[in-house]
Amino acid sequence: MLSAAARAEIEAHLKKYPTKRSAIIPALYIAQRAHGYLTPEAIRDVAQVLELEPTEVRSVAGFYSLFYKEPVGKHVIHFCNDLPCALRGADEFLKKLCARLGVEPHGTTGDGMFTVEPAMCLAACDRAPLMQVDLDYFENLTEEKLDEILDGFRTGTIQTDAASVIKSELA
């Protein structure tokens, strides 16, 4: 069941559009937070709030890659290995990341902490290698930095929504 707070949050999004249906993406993000992925129940709840059929909501959820239909790790890592990043060593770095976590690409660590997804271009090609963790950017990665970041998540010293990583390093 969606919490009352989650419902209120979705209601706030409804005000932005002339149709309820337009709030489907924001609503799915909110519904996904509870379990990290979209449970059948979450799909039904969103359908109910937006006055849609659950099958319609499911098909929209299925179209977009940021909605997860299966359980994922507590933190989802999107590591960019698209062409611009790969020209700067991203494929090799992704192997190191996977080795450190003991997973294959698309896999989840045994402790359920991290899922690693190779990503298409994340609009940060000048700061490769880079990744997003829970959609927060971590850029210009080195192996040392990577270790610090992974440790930070494990120990709870980094919390993605609070982590401000936008650097004023542009020329």
Partner: protein
């Protein structure tokens, strides 16, 4: 170089409203709403020659003039989906100079008399969206956006909308579908969005960078703007430089600046002093240009004449160490992943292209497979529902044209 768009590089803290206003921010907006007729604003943007920065280079003022006057409501939708490999300019504008974007959206809305603007950001732009939302809240609190602006009867609301991971939503009609809460799949055209757009109402869709050009035009006039760039491609452009160069990044330059200035002077040349092999002028969607194109001016006409397109100007540099087949496979994989599945030539064709490239790269290809690849592209080009299907063939067609020897070398051992 004087920045028109990346002004934050000269002005610290430009993302803050009071700093932006101290540097002429929202002056053009105030003047437009209090002193200008909407049509005068359209004419001004027309006269400036500003062309769309999202890919096609369509004249912005002309696009606005297609909006019918007598149908309400109307919408302005900003394309901040920025997902083309190698493109990272809209993100910098949003994060570092958000008010210039907001002012540009506001001016576009006033020009076509839209009461609502939506800014559609790719889902991965959670952090940029937060910065933009803060700027929007500031602008609202300062009475720059809202009801009865500056004592007139014009009211304006601007909303942010995050997508959820789908490159195709950068295609303007797929974006509208997505914003309406549906699958992000392209629509039939005609009707064009100018007549039947968001919620079936007249809609202007512009790229982030396009609209960020409008406030300086409103403030300084069309003649000032036309002094920058070339006659047919006026103004400056933010060029995204990535790949095998020493100093990748965004560089704002007058349109018509040669690739050489960007790659060698500003980008610091190629890593390790290697030789240039090829240039992708518009990310994975463009036909590759050979190294001999280094002196081509970067404007819409010149890059087209050289056999490619300027697109959103995401310039990916390949050097002599790059395996062309490897790079091509990366690009076709991108399109296979991003095909929305609506039409068969694209959905199936992108799978075939990836499968063939994989086979050739595993050393299992035969010489005739090169022509098979070209055959697949012929069955896609011009036969797909939207341009993504055509884009998916660009890397194959152009790398076979310019680097056929590498394909031959990879398939030779399996000759018939």
């Amino acid at each position: 170089m004087e920045h028109v768009i990346l002004r934050h590089r000269n002005i610290p803290d430009l993302h803050r409203l009071e700093v932006y206003q101290a540097h002429g921010g929202y002056e053009g907006w105030h003047k437009a709403v209090t002193e200008m007729k909407p049509d005068a604003l359209i004419d001004l943007v027309k006269a400036s020659g500003l062309r769309g920065r999202g890919g096609a280079g369509f004249p912005a003022g002309l696009k606005w003039s297609f909006i019918p006057k007598d149908i309400f409501p109307k919408y302005v939708v900003v394309n901040a989906d920025e997902s083309e490999p190698g493109t990272f300019k809209d993100r910098e504008i949003i994060e570092r100079n958000p008010h210039q974007l907001i002012e540009g959206v506001a001016l576009a809305c006033y020009a076509v008399q839209a009461g609502t603007g939506y800014i559609y950001l790719r889902g991965e732009f959670k952090q940029p969206a937060r910065i933009l939302q803060k700027a929007l809240d500031e602008a609202r609190a300062a009475g720059l956006i809202g009801q009865n602006l500056f004592g007139t009867n014009y009211s304006l609301d601007i909303q942010l909308h995050l997508g959820a991971g789908a490159y195709i939503c950068g295609e303007e009609t797929a974006l509208l579908e997505s914003l309406e809460g549906k699958l992000g799949q392209p629509r039939n055209r005609p009707p064009f969005p100018a007549l039947v757009g968001l919620y079936s109402k007249p809609t202007v869709i512009n790229n982030v960078e396009t609209l960020a050009n409008v406030p300086p035009i409103a403030l300084n006039g069309a003649d000032w703007y036309k002094k920058l760039g070339t006659e047919k491609s006026p103004g400056t452009k933010v060029f995204c430089l990535s790949g095998r160069v020493n100093r990748p990044g965004n560089y704002e330059l007058p349109l018509g600046t040669p690739f050489r200035v960007l790659i060698e002077d500003l980008g610091g040349g190629i890593i390790g002093g290697k030789a240039l092999k090829g240039i992708l002028p518009a990310g994975a969607s463009a036909l590759i240009l050979p190294a001999s194109a280094i002196d081509v001016p970067m404007d819409y006409e010149s890059v087209a004449a050289a056999g490619s397109m300027l697109g959103s100007a995401s310039i990916i540099v390949l050097d002599e160490t790059v395996d062309i087949l490897w790079a091509t496979e990366k690009m076709v994989r991108f399109f296979r992943h991003e095909s929305c599945g609506k039409c068969t030539p694209c959905r199936e064709g992108t799978h075939w292209l990836v499968r063939e490239m994989e086979r050739i790269r595993r050393g299992e290809g035969k010489p005739q497979d090169i022509d098979l690849l070209l055959d697949i592209t012929k069955n896609m080009s011009g036969k797909c529902f939207c341009l993504l299907g055509d884009f998916a063939t660009s890397s194959i067609v152009s790398t076979i044209k310019h680097f056929r020897g590498e394909y031959e070398a990879a398939t030779r051992t399996n000759g018939q």
